[in-house]
Assembly symmetry: C2
Homo-oligomer: 442 residues x 2
């Protein structure tokens, strides 16, 4: 929620009260409030408040927005703010800035900058690119009391303190204890005795989709990342994963609409970007459509015998496309969520054959009514038979295509509604005119 009080205290120059209020408010609300500020006001605001507070607010913004704000501030201030951020957030923002600017900031940050440089080397969409280096690790012989005293000393930041990792001298990860377990354990126990030895952990180069899946499967809050020698190098937290899960879903949805994933928010995408992400698929689909035109041309003679056949072209090919689009949508999502496995294609095929037949009979009846009404008895028979055939075929195409794509290790989402519709047009027209010729030819 926008906080009008922040705005008025700022404008009236009541800095003391402003700082008090800022400390109390949730950063998400502050971000919304700042959207109402002009650019100069935003700049002035960030120069007023403590760096630590600035860091918290910028972490709450979307990365490109935070980068834009930071780019406007004096470099020395920007470097101080970056130092206060979680390393994973700082790295994301640095990656968004122009190269020279980022290099200058890293230099000003000294040691902290060196650490971030290492993180910057990881691919953005891997576990290494997602992890932060803020975590709590203790040796296995430390007692519970000792660990609590250590925590009191380092006062770790909120999100990374819920698990304490247990490591060997060479930093190899050997166990984990939750803060809750630590708090309820006897003080003189050694962490070795109460730690969980089976730790869910990932290598540095795991794909982010796989990371999301692990978080969902094991209901994780934090996931440790280890290097090739099994040494703890970072942790990934659940809030970052939720944001990624949302992005990945948007990509899946865009693919289902035959749009090359934008990889940015719609709001930030310009006209030329939007054009380029869409025109490719539209041109490909036109090429596929040439088959449909070819089919009609090949059956020109049949069409000239009964011009009323043309009336039903949109009805029949659309229903085919719609049916295929439904079953493809069901399949793609079920494959993505793991609800249907590749190995169960045979059962699924059988199930959808039955569903298709029921739908075909229903829609065939509807087609018969419309055919008789607009074109007479024979046309009625032709339309209803075609409808039945098209619906059954379309339903199976919608089921099979995502399976084949997955089998070929391609993204099942390529079986988009427009692609299925276009394929079904060609098949539908061929079916229609073949059946029509059987009934109409002398």
């Amino acid at each position: 929620m926008v906080q009008p009080a922040v705005w008025s205290l700022f404008r009236e120059g009541r800095i003391q009260q402003l700082l008090e209020l800022v400390k109390e408010l949730h950063p998400a609300d502050l971000v919304e409030t700042l959207h109402e500020f002009s650019q100069e006001e935003q700049e002035k605001f960030f120069l007023l408040i403590p760096h630590e507070q600035s860091a918290i607010i910028l972490q709450e913004m979307e990365v490109p927005e935070a980068a834009a704000v930071l780019a406007k501030l004096p470099v020395a201030t920007a470097a101080e703010i970056l130092k206060e951020m979680y390393s994973d957030e700082a790295v994301d923002i640095l990656a968004e800035l122009p190269k020279e600017k980022a290099a200058k900031l890293l230099m000003l940050m000294k040691e902290a900058g060196e650490e971030l440089k290492e993180l910057l080397a990881y691919e953005e969409d891997t576990s290494g690119g997602l992890m932060a280096t803020e975590f709590v690790a203790v040796p296995e012989n430390l007692t519970v009391g000792g660990t609590l005293a250590y925590l009191r000393k380092v006062a770790p930041s909120a999100e990374n303190a819920y698990y304490i990792y247990v490591v060997k001298r060479d930093k190899r990860l050997v166990g984990v204890i939750s803060l809750r377990e630590l708090v309820v354990a006897p003080l003189e126990t050694r962490v070795r005795q109460i730690m969980h030895k089976k730790v869910v952990k990932v290598p540095e180069d795991l794909d982010q989709e796989e990371v999301v899946r692990l978080f969902e499967k094991y209901s994780l809050l934090v996931l440790p990342v280890v290097d090739k020698k099994d040494r703890l190098v970072g942790v990934i937290t659940v809030d970052d994963v939720m944001a990624i899960a949302k992005e990945e879903t948007t990509e899946d949805i865009h693919k289902a609409g035959s749009i090359t994933p934008l990889r940015m928010s719609y709001k930030n995408a310009g006209v030329l970007t939007l054009y380029s992400k869409r025109v490719g698929w539209l041109l490909v689909l036109i090429l596929v459509n040439l088959i449909s035109s070819g089919v009609i041309a090949a059956f020109e003679e049949t069409l000239s015998v009964a011009l009323s056949l043309a009336f039903f072209i949109p009805l029949l090919i659309d229903t085919g496309g719609n049916t295929g689009c439904q079953s493809a949508t069901l399949m793609v999502r079920a494959l993505v969520t793991g609800d249907v496995k590749l190995s169960s294609w045979f059962q699924t095929f059988g199930k959808e054959l039955l569903v298709g037949m029921l739908l075909g009979i229903t829609l065939g009846l509807a087609g018969w009514l419309l055919g008789v009404f607009r074109g007479g008895a024979i046309i009625g028979v032709i339309v209803s038979l075609t409808m039945l055939a098209i619906v059954v075929i379309a339903n199976l195409v919608g089921v099979i295509l995502p399976f084949i794509l997955t089998r070929l290790r391609l993204d099942p989402a390529v079986a988009s509604s427009p692609l299925i519709t276009t394929i079904m047009d060609a098949i539908g027209l061929l079916t229609y005119f073949t059946i029509a010729r059987m009934f109409l030819a002398p």
Copy 2:
């Protein structure tokens, strides 16, 4: 991952080792392993292991599956296992069981059953239906040391111990402290002094979509639920919210494919259910399609002048449908994620007008080439002009329809690919034949 060791220890009757191993493994892996067991074996397995362990495993299963397992066990055992579960999970399972069975179990659970009965009264898709009653609450005058001692005594279960809620005598929620903050604070401080007074909290009857949005916005791990008198009655945890976010996305995707949301996994949906969730929209779309048939019928004369016009029907109406489907997909997702606001419809409209014109010019050129190639110079002009017009119109229809639906407080996802395709067919055909008649009529 399936754990073959569990299976072999179970079959060989090495119960002691089996119990040890089960304690070590992650419940998600145990669930996968149990899927390889027969029903009788599953039953026997749950009778072997401690109730507490059974509760953990069942909580990890999907609700209908867990309910099916529980239904097969002796009622006394089932009641004991339910007692060990988090109240939110227990309630979900009880709601899935036949009424008499659930009533019997609740009776056997005595006090615990009484508590669950209260939770059962909430609507399933509201904050009250999602919350669990396991949380830690302390009075505001307790010291940090006293709170830690209390935690040691009650040894709260993992997921609900990361926040300690501060309440008045009458249970009114007045503050919150994270376990991390508690651990690093001086022992003699009173919780009142260090608690956060601005608590993000929700009423009992908030819609679950709103709950998901709050978790995302504030990066929450736990969200407290209060009654009308501001008394703390339960907490919602992030893992439940992630599961709901996934369900809601599946619903959105299904709607985009013109499928009435299944509200169950595809795997569990029978042939008749699938049929009923799909046939309605297909029939509605056929009715809309009657307009298209009507348009062709009305222009029968124009068509008879140049039968080759029919060749381009699928090409033109499909490209219109595909373009509209793309822009509708972009809009619906942007509206759902809040990336585009209702208030910015004017800018969005302008942006998409430009994108549509660029796409229209490109595809118009492609249409001209194909038209000339298959039907001669005049047909080339007709096809290219139609293509340009259709693409621009379709693009705007795809943008406007989701906005109008949202404005009318309807779900923008109703602007599904099939609906847009079908609408664009009628508009496309009308455009096509109107342009054709201008060029071909004497």
